[in-house]
Symmetry: C2
Subunit: 185 residues, 2 copies
Amino acid sequence: KKKSVSSQVIYGNRGMSLEQEINASNQYYLTHGIAVVHKKPIPVQIVDVNYPKRSAAVIKEAYFKTPSTTDYNGVYKGKYIDFEAKETKNKTSFPLKNFHEHQVQHMRACVAQGGICFTIIKFTQTQEIFLLPARVLFDYWQQQATGRKSIPKQAIIQAGYAIQYHINPTVPYLDAVDKFMATIQ
Amino acid sequence: KKKSVSSQVIYGNRGMSLEQEINASNQYYLTHGIAVVHKKPIPVQIVDVNYPKRSAAVIKEAYFKTPSTTDYNGVYKGKYIDFEAKETKNKTSFPLKNFHEHQVQHMRACVAQGGICFTIIKFTQTQEIFLLPARVLFDYWQQQATGRKSIPKQAIIQAGYAIQYHINPTVPYLDAVDKFMATIQ
Ligand SMILES: [Mg+2]
Ligand SMILES: [Mg+2]
């Protein structure tokens, strides 16, 4: 039912990662009073900190921790929204190994609470971006032990919502969220 | 209209900070399917990382960044909730210097989007905890240049919601959130 956006004229800034594009879009949404969505900081375990005189504290030893949630969450039209942003160089499918079990679990818990949960997937080869509802990811996630290890791009086109690159915000994903929310209310 | 909880029998674990008590309560809410609320990681600017062979990456130089949001957010009954947890040793008031301008701005933006925003304030001397709606903080914040630099405890008792220590969850703050939500719907 939906068309691929590969014929679109406007492309993303090819030097920017999807994450940077979304961060810039979130900044636009924030300053225009449209939504409040932030990327969560990278979780680190801090082991050693120096407090030099007359200058800022320096973390001298720390380790990356596995995140227990998705990267983005916030509020839009009173609703809780929660998502992960992922890029792939693949052309015909999106590999499930891009997700961790704990992220999928987190999304399940959020959906159970009535949150609006999804993934923003970018096919970097064609600069196509889609919002994919979390429930679709759950279906593929559940069958991966015995079935395929990726989500076919055709399924993403069918069950997802294309996001067209725009001038400002660069990735107007809330347009896709509006369409998605309309189906679950 | 509300009574102080200082006469309550159950006290918090005096070795635990309010943050630890809330984190434990969030874990309870999560595992019981009641709400999904997480503390955000401390934001750090990573400058130098070592990647030793056969062991985990080590962050060798990093700096603390000023958080641009509050510490906690999540979803409860489909609603976005967002709050900051603060303790004070003061007995009769809560000093406004416990907040940063950017946190108050963030709470204003969330309220404008229909989020449920508040502060959880603990008076450590008496082990009393209150949920204080963000709008009350905004009123005091706005007058502080010319007026008082703290929120009187009496105002917190009047405009806030007492949270009674409990066995599990230790700090059942969602009971107070229910009462608060009932006033804004
Ligand atoms: Mg991520
Ligand atoms: Mg804090």
